[in-house]
């Protein structure tokens, strides 16, 4: 099974949509790797263009964001764009249904946390770079920044756990139906 965690990038905005994650003009690509340079190309944070090619972004394997992450278009390209940029975990206060399902269908972890936990993670990021580790069996997540740390439980239903274990929905469905 994949391991989930690593250095986090923080996207401090709700309702980040899949057009911002990967603009439609790149949906003519028929390989996932072709999406790599275009991740978050149209993202605006505080009305400003986000630098998707920063050092922090290059090093990140975890994304932390706010409510309704991945809303809008159903394009799984949004999940693939993260995947080919080595993002293996997205933590948010909430996800749009299709985006969240696409994550688990690809065997990638999407963790939903209460706002208080998300606020605590953003607060931790004020101290410096944050590294996240996940214990899938125990359902616990730990974020550290230097000497400071924040730990909490996260919910994961049995179906989502099995999808992650199987490496995605196609394998799961092929074995079961």
């Amino acid at each position: 099974m994949k391991t989930f965690g690593g250095q986090a990038i923080f996207l401090d905005r709700s309702d980040i949509n899949t057009d911002e994650i990967i603009p439609a003009k790149y949906l003519t690509e028929i390989t996932k790797t072709a999406l790599k340079p275009h991740l978050l190309e149209d993202l605006l944070l505080d009305g400003q263009a986000f630098d998707a090619h920063s050092q922090a972004m290059q090093e990140a394997t975890v994304v932390v964001s706010r409510a309704n992450f991945g809303c809008g278009s159903s394009r799984e390209h949004a999940v693939w764009a993260f995947e080919v940029n080595n993002i293996n975990l997205i933590i948010a206060e909430g996800f749009a249904r299709i985006f969240r399902q696409n994550m688990f269908n690809c065997g990638i972890l999407a963790i939903t946390l209460e706002k208080a936990h998300i606020d605590a993670l953003f607060a931790l990021a004020q101290k410096g770079a944050v590294t996240v580790s996940v214990d899938l069996t125990a359902g616990r997540l730990k974020a550290t920044s230097g000497d400071a740390a924040y730990e909490c439980a996260f919910p994961l239903n049995d179906f989502d756990r099995e999808l992650v274990g199987a490496g995605g929905w196609l394998t799961y469905a092929d074995q079961r139906y």
Binding site: E20, T28, I30, Y177
Partner: protein, 434 residues
């Protein structure tokens, strides 16, 4: 969720009739009556199935496919996407495959062909699949992996459905449309207000709407986060579908009576109930980059526009073209603006020609495009330049949606046509039939 409530919603009834598995409490795998496919999200599913030695379809008669997002192909990449679809449809003898000459925007074309019926379960790799809930079906947009499994196994997983009821009362004023209703609803709910819920649209206003208007409101349910919009199927549904179902029922009354089984019970449970009187509603318009940023159009009046786009799965049907033409007849587009109209299907195009609507658009100075998703998502023709503004009948105003640095204002066909002749956002009501 009191235990005394034993009644079921439409969505719960559809799930009960299609349940294949319950892999975890609260998660259901349902069998699918139709899997819809288009050339943007399907080719990667096809290629993955081929690569894994699983190139099969669960039932070729239940797969409906179209090339609609970029058609005719604009470059080698989109030509390849079309070719993958074409070869696949041939290989698996998918009879209902719509290519150039017969193709149109999926969510307008497939209802026209009678592919959606009350009680059906439908998925497509397209978020606006929720449109088909207008027929009393559970129709949900999904990603490519769900689509792939749908094609291969004919099943899909969902959370056990939880519904929000939106009860609409009152009569729409002249110049106020289903588009204005759904924009007002999204404003009220916010873009996250119905996430992971089914929205059931009910009440006298919905009962009075034709199928085109019902499709418009269900189409944008996803903009509030909903999995599906659903309207209770009734006589209007039966009349629309009659050419396709007449072999199954003695008469329309029998169909209407049968459709009752896809109505929610009086004691069904809802997560929430929202009531709205549409009588005082004014034409609506979005501002900003989220579809819940909505104002009365009078508040945005005078905002200059560069392009007008009339089309899409939201508002590219014949009723929409008639509405726009009622304002454009005998008028010219303003000097600062350009107009594009895209009838959503060949049948709509043909009907618009027969009714003289195309001549009205052309006389006004509009460019008439072939049926395609076109400018809506900035994938092919009609892309905005940096800093340009579009008055659009489409469904999304996200940053970059119609082109990097462009601004899209969502509105009704009346309002878009009014913007075209004035060159600014304006209240369309005084211009109707002038």
């Amino acid at each position: 969720m009191g235990q005394t409530n034993v009644g079921k919603t439409i969505a719960e009834k559809i799930f009960a009739a299609h349940r294949r598995d319950t892999p975890a409490p609260g998660t259901e795998v349902i069998s699918l009556d139709a899997v819809f496919c288009h050339e943007i999200t399907t080719p990667i599913a096809i290629m993955d199935l081929v690569e894994k030695g699983m190139d099969q379809v669960f039932d070729a008669s239940k797969i409906k496919a179209v090339i609609d997002h970029v058609t005719p192909a604009k470059d080698s990449k989109t030509a390849t996407q079309g070719k993958i679809m074409r070869d696949w449809a041939t290989r698996h003898q998918i009879k209902d495959f719509f290519d150039i000459g017969e193709n149109g925007v999926c969510h307008a074309l497939f209802p026209e062909k009678g592919f959606v019926r009350p009680g059906y379960t439908v998925i497509m790799g397209d978020s606006h699949t929720c449109t088909h809930g207008a027929f009393g079906a559970f129709a949900a947009g999904v990603g490519t992996t769900d689509l792939e499994v749908g094609i291969y196994k004919g099943v899909c997983s969902f959370r056990s459905p939880q519904s929000m009821k939106i009860a609409l009362s009152g009569k729409l004023a002249v110049g106020v449309t289903a588009k204005d209703v759904i924009l007002a609803i999204i404003k009220k709910l916010t873009v996250n207000g119905a996430t992971d819920l089914v929205i059931e649209f009910t009440g006298e206003t919905v009962a009075a709407m034709d199928m085109s208007a019902r499709m418009t409101i269900c189409n944008m349910a996803v903009e509030a986060g909903a999995t599906c919009g659903i309207c209770p199927p009734d006589r209007i549904t039966a009349e629309y579908l009659w050419p396709f179902i007449q072999g199954e029922y003695a008469n329309i009354e029998a169909a209407v009576a049968d459709f009752q089984k896809w109505h929610s019970d009086a004691d069904a449970s809802y997560v929430s109930v929202v009531e709205m009187d549409v009588t005082p509603l004014a034409p609506q318009v979005t501002h900003g980059y989220k579809p819940d940023q909505v104002k009365d159009i009078t508040e945005m009046a005078g905002t200059p526009i560069d392009q007008v786009y009339i089309g899409s799965c939201t508002n590219g049907r014949i009723e929409d073209l008639r509405a726009a033409a009622a304002i454009l007849k005998g008028q010219r587009i303003a000097a600062n603006a350009r107009g594009i109209v895209t009838p959503a299907t060949p049948a709509i195009y043909r009907q618009a020609l027969a009714e003289g609507l195309i001549a009205i658009f052309m006389d006004a100075g509009f460019c008439v495009l072939n049926p395609t998703c076109g400018a809506c998502l900035g994938m092919s023709c009609g892309v905005l330049a940096e800093g340009e503004v579009c008055a659009s009948t489409t469904n999304r105003n996200f940053n970059g949606r119609m082109g990097k640095g462009g601004m899209v204002h969502l509105m009704s066909p009346y309002a878009a046509a009014a913007a075209a002749i004035k060159g600014v956002i304006t209240d369309p009501r005084p211009l109707i039939g002038k």
